[in-house]
């Protein structure tokens, strides 16, 4: 297993009940497993994840990227900066 840092913001932070936690996924996983893994750990996030994006190491990811130990993952609900 590899261990990831998982960050929540705004509505996802409120639903998760914390700002930051850890998430484990099987070694060799890519970012496409994240959504399912996060919902398994935080069922309350199911609906919000449908219209959120997940960043890896402070980048929006297009194609799935391979995950590594200590990667920084964040749930980014619809933004409203400006």
């Amino acid at each position: 297993m590899i261990r990831l840092r998982l960050l929540f913001f705004a509505r996802s932070r409120e639903l998760a009940g914390c700002k930051e936690t850890e998430l484990e996924v099987p070694a060799g996983s890519d970012s496409s497993v994240l959504s399912t893994a996060i919902v398994a750990a935080f069922p309350a996030l199911r609906e919000l994840l449908g219209h959120s994006v997940i960043s890896v190491n402070q980048e929006y990811v297009g194609k799935p990227v391979l995950l590594h130990n200590n990667d920084e993952i964040a749930v980014i609900p619809p933004i409203s900066g400006g």
């Binding site: 913001f9 705004a10 932070r13 960043s55 980014i76 609900p77 400006g82």
Partner: protein, 153 residues
Amino acid sequence: MCDPDHVAVKEGELSLDQLARHVSSNHAGAIATFSGTTRDHFEGKKVVRLEYEAYVPMAEKELRSICKQVREKWEVMAVAIEHRIGVVPVGEASVIIAVSSVHRREALEAVHWAIDELKARVPIWKKEMYAEAEGEGDEDSSVETSAWKENAE
């Protein structure tokens, strides 16, 4: 060469004059700026307070990338963007952008593109706190509700 860009995601009041100094140069003839200010109403509800939250390191990374793209797309000298987080009183600026250029058209167009881009991709969230008067019997209690906003585009 000095870094032509300046970005910050921070608490506290924002200053257009200070931001303009970040982009001013003896070679630039024009500085355009944009400020987004917080409004006091939303769908008939009175907004009493706003709070901004950011994924700070990623937000600053995206802002730096917007500055770079602005300089690739237009002939501009320098770009500066600051976004305020924490509580922002109604009427104060939550975001300010400044672009300097030799000719005015470039700075004005670039600032417009930059604010559109910021709203589309920088991980920052706004929560509006509303005051809703609920008249029940003689008592006129005021209940506070709130909502996380979503940018339209």
